[in-house]
């Protein structure tokens, strides 16, 4: 065997970075041995059921608990009045607002939490909840965000009357939460005034819900003897939950243990702290018994964490050649009854300012006004980085609108506006420094793979026959990996993340992270990083997450931040260990540390391939034979504060055929090229892209949380709320290029959200493109058969 072959073989054995390692999580899941929150059963455990408001806006006249309390097996009925003496009837939100834990004198959205019945089991709890009698005096409901700041609008938040601030800056109306703006308004306005061409369009991201298959829930267990609280919880950010619990309850953080066990999907739904958690915890403290609370699907869709609800107007200014000169945007953000959106605390519109996208736009201005309405609170990043879906939807729709106005091909207009490879690192007009990108070759790769010219030709032929075929393009740039702590924090905690690695004497290791997997395969991929960095087999590396008693503090998993931040922490921790190992190896080899070099899984004396110490040998020595003055052991913890975000990009192409009689859209082809920098596990990346595309498909083609004018929620079960099945879901084609991040230790960027963020505008662009020859530049999501048919019918194309 040659030296090169030997190296390759040793590399393969590690199953490190770049290999499609099979997942370590799978054996338990395929045998029904996952451990999700609802699987947790503790001795003496009680169950909670929430009594919810049937009305969107109403005063609570009275609550009568007697019948419920009389039911055998009911232990407590908790209302706001019970929480008041504890100061727990309101709680802080991540966005600086406060939210009623249980409705305090009034309800402000339908299904709001009014009381919790705690009983022996879920059957009795449900019976008890039916017996709690609540009398309401119904108030006029405010549903339309455009009417929120009318003079005569109903006041949603009586508690804020007279206050000119609600946690995120000045407000100007009782239902106003904040104004956020970014960019040079005057210069932008001037650019529009002087532009050869301008376009303007409504850019609407309707209210949707992430709906992971597992709903939210928790088991709270308070140990009265030790004053210690353990909470099993469906959380994407268990450490933040621990801090919030301490801030709320006053229990020392060292006595609060939060465990996120297996999580059945998150997609942003499981970032926030919800009233159900808080009441279950209080119940456990009061009753001294474990209390479980698990949402129903209807509760989940109705109350915990909607996404989007951005009602905007987008504008582009350009020259006659389609070169963009300026971008302008304004939006109303409907935050519901409490400002509980899950964003870095100082970012009321998240990272929306990424909205200049992949294009070299000299000047831009964006403004978002948050308003209260009688709807559930939330505003989470549904499989995206904070408000990045909204931002990408804006620019990717508007560039199509501009192309149509100027009759420029939709691929060509992108070519003309792309940031060029040599411009990186690129300073965007709205303040970001894009780390790396190479858009044009990626676009050409996709166009060629799909025979774009051929598709356009076919489209022209179909149009001549009256058939509807659309080609959608989306060439997006994301911003993920929050984030540099100087820019991002959650409740004052910087958005670093962490990894602790311990290498055991016999050369296996355990690593613990501040992130938490919800299906992304962290147990598999983090081990690959460590394997490559330390030369230990992946199979000998255990990854643990989610238990705040053992894992180092971390901000959790959302916004595609695990690889950019947690992965970086892992690499950095491993490198610290390797640096120490190098000294030990040199000591064992009796040379200077500078005289040894790393070779896959071992240190070798430079120029002497026979003088080697494997990492396993070094690990053993770390516990019995270290250089003079060195501490024993081989472990470290790294808290990684990234210098910048990462900026993955993608080029997507979608071909649709629309049935002009029924409005049904069939996805003939969806081709997704993603560039997430260096790739750790291609199999998992591909799986993430498939899943993200499917969620994009769901949002673009059918998802909608809708209300009537009285604030009654419509379609809050899976009968109506669109989750595509095997039958509706299209086939996905994936591709990639690699443009490493220059600042990430592994050159990696994060990927799971790109397909959602980039997929949604791609579907929309395809559907709208099908009508482009009829002068249509825009229709709103979701593109249900009914909605598409309305366009068809209006244009008379169904005759």
């Amino acid at each position: 065997m040659s030296a090169a072959e030997d190296t390759l073989e040793r590399q393969d054995q590690l199953q490190g970075i770049g290999c499609s390692r099979k997942r370590k999580e799978d054996p338990r899941f395929i045998q029904g041995k996952g451990n999700y929150v609802d699987d947790v059963k503790l001795p003496g455990m009680l169950c909670g059921a929430i009594v919810r408001s049937p009305f969107a806006h109403a005063k609570i006249v009275s609550i009568n608990k007697e019948k419920a309390l009389a039911l055998p097996g009911v232990h407590a009925v908790i209302t706001a009045d019970d929480l008041k003496p504890l100061g727990l009837h309101w709680m802080p939100t991540l966005a600086g607002d406060t939210q009623a834990v249980l409705a305090d004198e009034k309800v402000a959205f339908q299904q709001q939490e009014v009381a919790m019945v705690v009983a022996d089991d879920r059957y009795i709890a449900a019976d008890g909840a039916e017996l709690v009698e609540v009398e309401y005096e119904v108030l006029p409901a405010l549903v339309d965000p455009h009417k929120a700041m009318d003079d005569d609008a109903p006041i949603i938040r009586d508690d804020l009357v007279g206050k000119d601030e609600a946690g995120q800056g000045k407000r100007t109306h009782n239902n106003h939460i904040f104004t956020w703006d970014v960019g040079d308004k005057d210069a932008t306005d001037r650019a529009f005034d002087n532009a050869e061409v301008t376009v303007r369009e409504e850019i609407l991201n309707p209210r949707v819900h992430p709906s992971p298959l597992e709903t939210c829930g928790c088991v709270a267990s308070f140990d009265k003897i030790n004053g210690a609280l353990t909470v099993y919880i469906t959380s994407q950010a268990p450490h933040i939950v621990r801090t919030v619990i301490t801030l709320l309850s006053g229990i020392a953080e060292s006595k609060v243990r939060v465990i996120s066990p297996d999580i059945g999907g998150g997609f942003g739904n499981k970032v926030g702290v919800y009233p159900g958690y808080v009441v279950a915890i209080v119940s456990s403290i009061v009753l001294g018994r474990p209390v479980k609370w698990i949402e129903s699907r209807i509760d989940n869709i109705s109350t915990t964490a909607f996404a989007r609800d951005y009602h905007g107007i987008g504008e582009l200014a350009a020259d006659k050649n389609g070169v963009i000169k300026a971008l302008r945007f304004s939006a109303l953000a409907d935050h519901g009854a409490f400002n509980a959106h899950a964003q870095p605390t100082k970012w009321p519109a998240g990272l929306f300012s990424i909205c200049t996208g992949s294009y070299d736009i000299p000047v831009a201005y964006a403004r978002v006004d948050g308003v209260y309405t009688n709807k559930a609170p939330g505003g989470v990043a549904y499989r995206c980085s904070f408000r990045v879906t909204e931002a990408v939807y804006l620019i990717e729709r508007m560039i199509d609108v501009l192309a149509q106005k100027l009759d420029i091909d939709k691929a060509e207009i992108r070519r003309r506006n792309f940031i060029k490879a040599e411009q990186f690192p690129y300073q965007s007009a709205l303040g970001w420094e894009y780390d790396s990108g190479n858009y044009l070759p990626a676009l050409e790769k996709v166009l060629e793979a799909c025979d774009y010219e051929g598709l356009r030709k076919e489209q022209a032929e179909k149009r001549a026959k009256g058939e509807l075929m659309g080609i959608g393009l989306c060439t997006f740039t994301e911003i993920v990996g929050a984030g540099p702590s100087k820019a991002c924090d959650v409740l004052g905690v910087g958005m670093f993340d962490s990894c602790e690695i311990r290498v055991h004497p016999t050369g296996s290791a355990i690593a613990r992270m501040g992130t938490i997997t919800q299906g992304q395969g962290h147990q598999t991929t983090y081990a690959q990083i460590i394997a490559s960095e330390l030369g230990l087999s992946s199979d000998d590396i255990q990854i643990e997450e989610g238990d705040t008693d053992t894992a180092p503090y971390g901000l959790g998993t959302y916004g595609s931040r695990s690889t950019p931040v947690g992965g970086a922490a892992t690499a950095m921790a491993a490198r610290t260990i390797r640096a120490k190992a190098q000294k030990i190896a040199a000591h064992l080899l009796e040379v200077s540390p500078d005289d040894v070099e790393w070779d896959v899984d071992r240190f070798q004396v430079k120029g002497n391939p026979d003088a080697v110490k494997t990492m396993k040998e070094v690990a053993w020595a770390a516990y019995n034979n270290v250089p003079e003055g060195m501490e024993m052991g081989l472990e470290t913890v790294n808290y990684y504060d990234p210098p910048n975000f990462t900026y993955p990009f993608g080029i997507y192409l979608c071909v649709v055929d629309i049935d002009r009689h029924t409005g049904e859209t069939s996805i003939r082809r969806f081709y997704a090229l993603d560039d997430c920098g260096n790739r750790i596990n291609p199999m998992i990346i591909e799986g993430q892209i498939h899943g993200g595309l499917n969620e994009a498909f769901a949002v673009a083609m059918g998802q909608l949380i809708s209300f009537d004018e009285d604030g009654n929620l419509q379609g809050n079960s899976l009968m109506d709320y669109f989750i595509p099945t095997f039958v509706e879901t299209p086939h996905w084609e994936t591709d990639y290029t690699v443009t490493p991040s220059p600042h990430h230790p592994l050159g990696a960027k994060g990927v799971a959200e790109s397909p959602h963020v980039g997929g949604i505008p791609c579907f929309s662009n395809a559907v709208i493109d099908a009508f482009a020859h009829k002068g249509v530049t825009h229709v709103n999501m979701p593109h249900t058969a009914f909605n598409v048919w309305k366009t068809i019918h209006q244009l008379g194309l169904d005759n």
């Binding site: 039916e130 119904v138 009537d708 929620l713 249509v776 709103n780």
Partner: protein, 209 residues
């Protein structure tokens, strides 16, 4: 060209409201005066409402009442108030608002009703009703959109009962006593109506027995 009119028509409010408006015209077999005698008497009118009952007279314009229906597996009991806004004896027209909540507090309904008896062009007397019915809460979440059908059927039953009452009062020759107000027992129509609600709720799910 933007085909989509305004966002309002597309999302957030795919259905404008759980409010439905209904108009009914029912021919009557007796004189307008006799019919008006019944119509202006809220207790008698309530008695024509299937399953309804006046439980308390607060004053001449305000009443408390209930509607109780038990159909198959379903029990519905609404309690509420009736406020008479206007009795116009010249126009033979009454305007009232009835609203209530179900006993579990999970749904509410209200009806704004203007009812009138008149002589039509061909000289026959008839009862006209214009009602706006609004449903909120659980019923609106799960079955609100069938309210047109349901309310239509309830009003139809009301009209039938009204004409029956008129007919029976007419046969009470010479008696000036108003017909005793009592809940109408025939609730087939209502059964039908409530079944429709239940059915919608069921149909919200895959309806596959």
């Amino acid at each position: 060209m933007t085909v989509a009119p305004s966002y309002r028509h597309f999302f957030t409010y795919s259905v404008n409201s759980m409010q439905v408006t209904l108009n009914k015209i029912v021919p009557l077999d007796d004189t307008v005066e006799k019919a008006w005698k019944i119509l202006k008497d809220i207790e008698q009118v309530a008695g024509c409402m299937p399953g309804a009952e006046i439980t308390e007279v607060i004053d001449e314009n305000n009443y408390k009442g209930s509607v109780k229906v038990k159909i198959g597996p379903m029990n519905v009991a609404f309690k509420g108030e009736i406020n008479v806004l206007d009795i116009d004896s010249d126009a033979h027209q009454i305007h009232l608002i009835a609203k209530g909540q179900d006993s579990k507090g999970t749904s509410s309904a209200s009806m704004d009703l203007t009812a009138r008896v008149r002589t039509n062009e061909s000289g026959a007397s008839e009862l006209t009703g214009d009602a706006a019915v609004t449903v909120n809460g659980k019923l609106a979440n799960f079955g609100g959109r069938m309210m047109t059908q349901v309310a239509d059927q309830i009003l139809g039953q009301f009209a039938d009962n009204f004409s029956q009452k008129l007919a029976s009062s007419s046969t009470d020759s010479g008696s000036e006593e108003p017909v005793a107000s009592k809940p109408v027992e025939e609730i087939n129509g209502l059964k039908f109506a409530w079944n429709a609600i239940i059915g919608v709720i069921k149909s919200f799910f895959q309806s596959r027995k």
